[in-house]
């Protein structure tokens, strides 16, 4: 899976979770940029990423995520390792 494909999928997940088809994310997007992005939506995002890419995050990985860029980098690493 290319990095572009991963980005597109992640974009789709964000739109889905926040129910906003016009939402455009960047690598710098973080919880401060999206009003509805609270701890519960964070869980929904993580769970959706895990099931879409068929990966599992560790507790450390989840707690260290700072923004969308880090999330995508982590997914790329996991997807391409497998």
């Amino acid at each position: 899976m290319t990095e572009n494909q991963v980005f597109t999928e992640v974009q789709g997940i964000f739109r889905d979770v926040f129910d906003d088809e016009s939402l455009n994310i960047t690598n710098e997007t973080n919880a401060n940029d999206i009003e509805e992005w609270d701890s519960l939506e964070q869980i929904n995002l993580i769970v959706a990423m895990e099931s879409t890419f068929k990966i599992r995050f560790t507790i450390d990985e989840v707690s260290e995520l700072k923004n969308v860029g880090e999330m995508i980098a982590l997914i790329n690493k996991k997807v391409n390792n497998e």
Binding site: I43, N44, V47, F57, I59
Partner: protein
């Protein structure tokens, strides 16, 4: 879904023992599907005890219609340790149990509403291995014992309903149920993918409590109640009984439906067949169901939506209380398109029919009354009456020929559950559509300035049981009829006249000068729009949201009832 009509609105409080999160959203969807529009209060994370027991202004302001307590086995902190003495274990058990009892009693006292309480699911680990379940110091034994105590409390207290989380976890598969990462990171006590299963179960209990259960099944015959087509294959050709795998499956379907009918759910036939041939199928030696087990039988060549509609009419119920069972997707589609309110499970393979039906929760039992168990015979005697009315030309003669006997009862502990049921599920003959929980009815009974009666009706075809309830309060010299409901089983029997006689008679004896009747229109209660005018009351207010009638008691009154005998349990 919000486009549907006839939503009832309910305020539901969720108290948290672990993350509630998505459960509330999914629960909302399931409730909307059942015609219930919820507003939610969500307690603070893991504060179910504090939220329930201590003063909670937010929750009192919310004034919940129902409280759901979202706990799980994760809510138990202090388990027995290996080789602990029985006394110590007993103390731990009582600590957990008493804290929950305190929660329930506090809710009953402060909020006076039904409670849904999760039981505890099995544990993910077993220190003693298989012995964990029977050793007294086994944690699993501890959990199971607590569950038994919960059930005892629930049996003794009609306001506590158990959501069987233990069963749901087993059904989902314990191995998948426990998602450790989700617990440690997000404090979801179980796998997020199990949330729909749990929410569905909770929604089923809620809709059952609020009178939204299904009442009848319209059932196809060929390849639904037996394998094969009776018209083509004949009695010897259809598959039923232990000789063939399919035959076994159909026998289990019949057994299941027979049990469902014991709950008071009316079985009806809706089949494209010649009636005379369809009937022969039930002569099969392995047929558990008999032709007489069905109330309305429609075996003809009409479109099935027409037949389902006829069944609803003959039973005098709404189509949204009917479940349509048919193996044929094309037939299901026709009914779905023409009668969108009918519930239609997707039956595919015969070996899964029972599973699909059982998981649906259409008939979830919460408060079953004696009337429920007898409902089938009510339906049947109603049919006999319908045949009689055709034979007698004059309707008055027909009513007199029924030999009706009405018994007037005060509210008491024996008739309470039926009163509450009738109040909460009656939609047509319901003047104000006010709903009351049993706790509220008990409070009403304790008031001195109130007038509450219920009415039993029997006739030569059978006993209908309690079919009407009236609740009124007294302000000075005025009696306000706040609630009046009557079961659709006894419409057009002039029982309302007998009841009005009782009201007026009582008012005269108790020096009441005015009787006020109220009507609040809903989508379903048009039938009683002019009831009070028909009873001789004067309309004093007429707006789109309410109508009010007045009756001056101090005038000569001739009893209106001429068709039934009346007795009272005074």
């Amino acid at each position: 879904m919000l486009g549907q009509e006839n939503f009832i609105e309910k305020r539901i409080a969720i108290l948290s023992g672990s993350t509630v999160g998505e459960l509330q959203n999914i629960l909302e969807l399931f409730l909307l599907k059942q015609g219930i529009k919820p507003t939610f209060y969500q307690g603070s994370y893991n504060r179910y005890f504090e939220d329930a027991v201590y003063d909670n202004l937010e929750l009192s302001d919310f004034n919940p219609d129902l409280i759901y307590i979202h706990t799980s086995v994760k809510s138990i902190i202090d388990f027995p340790v290996p080789f602990e003495e029985v006394e110590g274990i007993g103390v731990k058990l009582n600590n957990v149990l008493n804290s929950f009892i305190k929660v329930w009693e506090s809710i009953a006292h402060k909020y006076n509403c039904p409670i849904i309480q999760n039981n505890f699911e099995a544990l993910p680990q077993r220190i003693f291995g298989n012995a964990d379940v029977y050793r007294e110091d086994g944690a699993l034994h501890f959990v199971n014992t607590l569950n038994q105590k919960f059930y005892e409390y629930s049996r003794a207290n009609s306001n506590l309903y158990i959501n069987d989380l233990n069963y749901q976890a087993a059904w989902y598969g314990l191995e998948k149920w426990f998602d450790n990462a989700a617990w440690y990171m997000y404090k979801y006590s179980f796998n997020m993918n199990a949330i729909p299963l749990v929410s569905h179960n909770i929604a089923n209990i809620i809709k059952s409590i609020f009178g939204k259960n299904k009442k009848a099944l319209a059932i196809d015959l060929d390849n639904t109640l037996w394998g094969g087509v009776i018209g083509d294959d004949g009695l010897d050709g259809i598959e039923l009984g232990v000789e063939t795998p399919k035959g076994m499956a159909y026998t289990d379907i019949q057994k299941y439906l027979k049990s469902v009918s014991k709950l008071g759910i009316a079985l009806n036939i809706c089949s494209k067949n010649e009636e005379i041939i369809a009937k022969t199928g039930f002569n099969h030696e392995s047929s558990i169901l008999k032709w007489d087990d069905f109330v309305v039988t429609k075996a003809n060549w009409n479109n099935k939506d027409l037949n389902v509609n006829e069944i609803a009419k003959e039973l005098n119920i709404f189509t949204d209380t009917i479940v349509f069972l048919d193996d044929n997707p094309a037939e299901r589609e026709i009914v779905k398109n023409n009668l969108p309110s009918v519930a239609i499970p997707n039956l595919s393979e015969e070996y899964d029919f029972v599973k699909v039906l059982d998981q649906s929760g259409y008939f979830e039992v919460t408060n079953i009354t004696e009337e429920d168990k007898k409902r089938i015979s009510y339906f049947k005697s109603n049919q006999l009456r319908q045949h009689e009315v055709l034979a007698l030309e004059n309707y008055d003669d027909y009513l007199k020929s029924l030999g009706m006997k009405c018994e007037i009862q005060h509210f008491n502990n024996e008739n309470l559950s039926r009163i509450v049921q009738l109040i909460n599920k009656t939609n047509q003959f319901n003047l104000t559509t006010k709903r009351y929980t049993s706790e509220e009815v008990i409070q009403f009974m304790e008031l001195t300035n109130s007038f509450g009666r219920c009415f039993k009706l029997k006739d030569k075809f059978g006993d209908n049981g309690i079919v009407s309830v009236l609740m009124a309060d007294i302000q000075g010299y005025v009696l306000n009829i706040n609630l009046w409901v009557m079961s659709c089983r006894v419409f057009k029997r002039e029982l309302e006249k007998t009841i009005f006689d009782e009201i007026v008679g009582w008012c005269k004896q108790n020096h009441i000068l005015k009787i006020r009747g109220y009507y609040y229109p809903t989508a379903k209660n048009k039938i009683v729009e002019n009831l009070y005018s028909e009873l001789g009351m004067s309309c004093i207010e007429d707006t789109p949201i309410q109508k009010v009638w007045n009756y001056e008691v101090n005038q000569e009154y001739n009893k209106k009832n001429e068709v039934m005998e009346v007795t009272s349990n005074d």
